[in-house]
């Protein structure tokens, strides 16, 4: 191979990490257009030259879906951007999505050799660059499906786990149908993640490409109610089922005042905006209540999405209320940084105790107490302890609770023999198999609450396991046929 990068490692290390081009905070809070424009070709090329092309590419091990990162960066150096994105697609069928929402800083970039002494290679930004380049220049070429198979697989839920599992199985030639309860495809990518982090154009394109693999997507179908898993096997002729229904049932704090109109779960708030476009009321029919002061409870990515959405809906003060300190916040650093740029107030070491309303039953404020950090709890993070007598009230008209989600209970309740653990999380083995033969599960349904990329990892792993399962079943059936034919021979 020709030398693509003539720079010595020491020279590569001297190049500063390239940054995304971002929309000004003051502009972007006016609407829902994407915050980051990513890196342009020039910056991408500079960034690619920073890669040390390690023989032992630890970044690949750091990637939950095992993208061949070194190779795709080498293809960028050759200016073969379409080749680069296809290299990613071998391991991950949703590159434009992952390039945007993956926490690379905890995965591939966390282990990047360059990162030991310098800043790691901006792998996520390069992934996004090649995916966007392909999109803008219409370079997409669908993969060739070598062999068509007769077996049908049902995928329940069209979120990241389901889409990935469907894509992998379709590439292997299976007949795949995704069942989605909502009227639109994408699961949490559609109802949860706001447009300013994941434009709908990108989501639509990625899901269309999955359709392009021959995957059928049936919306308006709530598995468990419209048809059950047992019926999928007995009446619909599916050979295997993958469950990727996510963790969509919101938790509430359980504090007084939660039933007041003006108190939302983050899921409801985000669904009204992201799925139903309540921000465009009355052109769209779904309404949403807003106020000049909005408090969002929680410290995760969902809380970040909700508080930044509230700002975009016109809140003068959008306040994030979190009971621990910044260090313990589960949200991505990048999101916290973007939120602060947008004028989001962080009220840390603060825990709500009561939501207050007036005689018209509208929210007027939220009573909180100060917290201090005590001993580490089971999560390893220092446990917040209330400071006695520290109660105070923040004046707000809207309260949004982003305090975690649990798996939706419908599948578990309607699938006999499906083993679940704590909070209805479906139990799976290392191959994503459940306690029911032929039923596999992954993503938040099997994890309780995790990331898009881990859901995709599960979906991918499940696809391999489903393939093995179906093939071994076919072999057994084939053997049965041989045995019975043998018997006939003996008989005659």
């Amino acid at each position: 191979m020709t030398v693509l990068n003539p720079l010595k490692p020491s020279e590569r290390m001297k190049i500063p990490r390239q940054h995304s081009i971002e929309q000004l905070a003051s502009d972007r809070v006016q609407g829902f257009t994407e915050v980051s424009f990513g890196v342009d070709e020039e910056r991408a090329m500079i960034e690619a030259t920073r890669c040390l092309e390690c023989k032992n590419a630890v970044c690949v091990e750091g990637c939950p879906v095992g993208i061949d990162i070194r190779s795709f960066i080498q293809l960028i150096l050759q200016k073969d951007y379409a080749g680069a994105v296809n290299k990613i697609r071998e391991a991950n069928y949703l590159p434009a999505i992952c390039g945007r929402v993956c926490p690379q800083e905890e995965q591939c970039e966390a282990v990047c050799t360059l990162g030991k002494k310098h800043m790691p290679v901006a792998i996520g930004k390069l992934e996004r660059f090649v995916a966007d380049y392909e999109m803008e220049h219409n370079l997409f070429t669908p993969p060739v499906i070598a062999e068509r198979r007769d077996e049908k697989v049902a995928i329940v839920g069209s979120g990241p786990a389901g889409l990935t599992c469907a894509a992998e199985l379709a590439k292997m030639g299976y007949r795949v149908t995704i069942f989605e309860a909502l009227h639109a495809v994408g699961g949490v990518l559609r109802y949860g993640i706001p447009e300013f982090r994941l434009p709908r154009k990108v989501l639509d394109l990625e899901t269309d490409r999955i359709r392009g693999l021959g995957v059928e997507i049936q919306t308006n179908f709530l598995v468990g109610r419209t048809a059950t898993i047992d019926e999928f096997f007995e009446e619909w002729g599916f050979s295997a089922v993958f469950l990727g229904t996510g963790a969509g049932t919101p938790n509430f704090m359980g504090i007084p005042g939660e039933s007041l109109p003006g108190v939302y779960s983050a899921n409801e708030f985000l669904t009204r905006v992201n799925l139903m476009k309540a921000n465009k009321f009355p052109d769209f029919d779904t309404p949403i209540r807003m106020g000049s002061n909005v408090a969002v409870i929680g410290g995760g990515n969902t809380a970040m999405d909700a508080v930044r959405t509230a700002k975009r809906l016109g809140a003068e003060r959008a306040i994030l209320v979190y009971r621990r300190s910044r260090q313990e916040m589960p949200a991505r650093q990048e999101e916290i940084h973007h939120a602060e740029e947008e004028g989001i107030e962080l009220l840390l070491l603060t825990n709500p105790t009561r939501i207050l309303g007036n005689e018209n039953h509208t929210v007027t404020g939220m009573e909180c107490q100060r917290m201090e950090l005590g001993e580490p709890d089971e999560s390893g993070r220092r446990k917040p302890v209330p400071v006695k007598g520290s109660e105070f009230v923040i004046p707000v008209q809207i309260v949004i609770e982003a305090v975690g989600q649990q798996p939706n209970p419908i599948i578990q309740a309607t699938t006999p023999g499906l083993k679940t653990g704590k909070r209805g999380v479906v139990e799976t083995n290392e191959k994503q198999g459940t306690s029911r033969l032929g039923v596999f599960a992954g993503g938040d349904l099997a994890r309780g609450g995790a990331t898009v990329i881990l859901a995709m990892r599960d979906g991918k792993q499940a696809a391999v396991a489903i393939h093995e399962y179906i093939q071994s079943k076919l072999r057994v059936e084939e053997n049965k046929v041989i045995v019975s034919t043998g018997a006939e021979v003996v008989g005659t």
Binding site: Y191, R225, A227, G248, F252, S259, E268, L275, K277, D285
Partner: protein, 284 residues
């Protein structure tokens, strides 16, 4: 797309639709509902499945034109299509033979009461039905209810039909009359009506089931918008209900929650009127 097969006007503001939705109809039981979205910019609203026809692959919905979405739907006709229908959702009504039961329907709630009445009769109950409406116009499905009831009482607020008064009047008589032997009451209608029925039956210690029409978005347990307080605990009407023990429901809270978007509804209604007016202008 879900085509409207037929439409029948039951009252000036209430229409009955038969819609082709074979998947929602196939497994539907009394008490189940669907979430529909009529048009691309539309909202998602829950509607009880009144009936279904397996052979035709249809479901029946009865809709009162109140908000923008229901008004829009009621302006549609056979041959038009609804964009989205998902279901059957919610838990089916627990149907058993109690001996004697009272089925109370108020306004368009009678439409939701009808499949339950039919199922209770089918289970061998002696059924006393009470149909209430503000006026004669709003008393619906009388014949259908009669077909599955041993006795039917009708009340109107203005006395224009049946007995003048509200549904709790004949219900009180029934509960006081030991011969009727009412063991369970099923009530569906406006929240104040279900509250009044539950308060009354509590006095008599008669088990009462009500169906809560909370505001929903997804209808599958994901948003918590339909949260209601039952016996002091938070429940989601869409997946834990929609039916609950009337004696345990915090009706006042739900009445408040259901008023959350009144100002928005007014705005949407005005918008709809404008749209309808302008579409009339361009019509020949």
């Amino acid at each position: 797309m879900f085509p409207i097969i037929s439409k029948e006007i039951l009252a000036p503001t209430i229409s009955k639709f038969v819609i082709h939705a074979p998947l929602a109809g196939k497994k539907r039981k009394a008490g189940n509902f669907v979430i529909i979205r009529v048009i691309e910019n539309g909202e998602r609203i829950p509607l009880t499945i009144v009936d279904s026809n397996l052979a035709e692959g249809t479901i029946t919905l009865i809709v009162q034109a109140i908000g923008k979405t229901t008004k829009l739907l009621c302006s549609m006709n056979a041959g038009d299509s609804i964009l989205d229908v998902v279901g059957p959702l919610g838990n089916p009504t627990p149907i058993e033979n109690h001996g004697s039961v009272a089925c109370v329907g108020g306004g368009v709630g009678t439409a939701e009461m009808y499949p339950i009445t039919k199922a209770l009769k089918g289970a061998g109950n002696r059924v006393f039905s009470i149909i209430g409406g503000r006026s004669k116009d709003l008393v619906i499905l009388e014949e259908e209810m009669r077909a599955y009831s041993d006795e039917v009482f009708i009340t109107t607020d203005d006395g224009s039909y049946g007995q003048k008064g509200i549904v709790t009047d004949p219900l009180r008589q029934l509960l006081m009359n030991s011969q009727s032997g009412i063991k369970a009451v099923y009530a569906i209608g406006p929240l104040p009506m279900m509250k009044a029925v539950s308060n009354l039956t509590k006095e008599f210690g008669v088990h009462t089931l009500v169906s809560l029409n909370a505001i929903m978005v997804d209808g599958t347990g994901m948003c918590g918008g339909c949260r209601v307080t039952i016996d002091g605990k938070m429940k989601f009407a869409c997946v834990d209900g929609p039916e609950f023990d009337g004696h345990q429901v915090d009706f006042d809270e739900l009445i408040l929650r259901n008023r959350s978007y009144l100002d928005f509804e007014r705005m949407a209604n005005e918008q709809l009127l404008k749209e309808m007016a302008s579409s009339h202008e361009v019509a020949p």
